[in-house]
Symmetry: C2
Subunit: 177 residues, 2 copies
């Protein structure tokens, strides 16, 4: 019934990327629960798992942006880089641009995505909420990695009040030159 020529709307690799991220979070969550004997995770355990996810996100973000931008001219300034992140990077990974970008023009950027693709598979269940923000560590790393590759050091944090809406705060770290 189905062949490659039949024009089936393919789910698309961005969905597989979502699912893989979701599995990764579940996996680290299970690992944490097993390690913790079933009780609530300690702060230290949370931090360890967050750090693993953030690191993986960072590396993926770096490699991905490297590939995306290798034939592009250099960006003029910080704002242009952040705009690239919010438009092209977002669209290519998440099939949409961000919904809102604000800046105080002093190195702080607030990025809002009303329906953040990586949180969509998790939005079905509530079991992830209050789980040490395990579900935003990877995306924060992803953004930080992308920015690092484009020459901007940043601290990236995320706030989720209701899945799958997410607010990222990007605080650029001053260059020392």
């Amino acid at each position: 019934a189905a062949t490659a020529d039949s024009g089936i709307p393919a789910a698309g690799a961005e969905v597989a990327f979502q699912f893989l991220h979701s599995e990764l979070v579940s996996f680290l969550l299970r690992e944490q629960l097993q390690g913790g004997g079933g009780g609530p995770a300690t702060v230290q355990q949370c931090r360890a798992q967050l750090s693993k996810l953030e690191t993986m996100g960072f590396r993926v973000g770096q490699a991905y942006v490297e590939k995306m931008t290798k034939d592009l001219p250099r960006f003029r300034d910080d704002l242009e880089i952040v705009k690239f992140l919010c438009k092209d990077f977002w669209a290519s990974l998440f099939k949409k641009q961000v919904d809102n970008l604000k800046t105080n023009h002093q190195g702080v950027y607030v990025v809002i995505d009303e329906k953040f693709s990586l949180l969509v598979p998790m939005a079905r269940g509530k079991q992830y909420l209050d789980r040490c923000h395990l579900y935003t560590a990877f995306p924060c790393g992803l953004i930080r990695g992308a920015l690092t590759n484009l020459g901007l050091r940043a601290i990236v944090t995320a706030e989720v009040e209701e899945l799958p809406r997410v607010k990222f705060q990007i605080q650029l770290v001053q260059h020392s030159a």
Copy 2:
């Protein structure tokens, strides 16, 4: 210089999926090396890491195929399912179809991909070869999960002689009804 309208060839989410898989393998490899005190991994350690990757692949494969096929008519037979896997599933995740599909018509299928997308990031270094097949466990799980969701139980194994060429063997398990 770059905007969403400028027609930049986006790297594409399938590349992010590749990178994330690659990071996952590196992560489990590091975890194994740390756990093993730097010496060669024991068979038991290898099995544990393989099993984690295979399980994650299985879940992603199941969820992904569920999403891909939810509006499709049922498949007529096993061969049609395997063809769907080799054409549509492959094309949507890996941006190409498999290069060769053989069957003995008794439930064994051999699938060859000359340039398997998930192994491309690893094809750069040799450090992954001989590493307990860590790099094929996830794809084997992915295929097994996809087939399971379509009603076929299977044993899936992979052989890699030279990256990124891979030969998957799918052995269908007879239904007991």
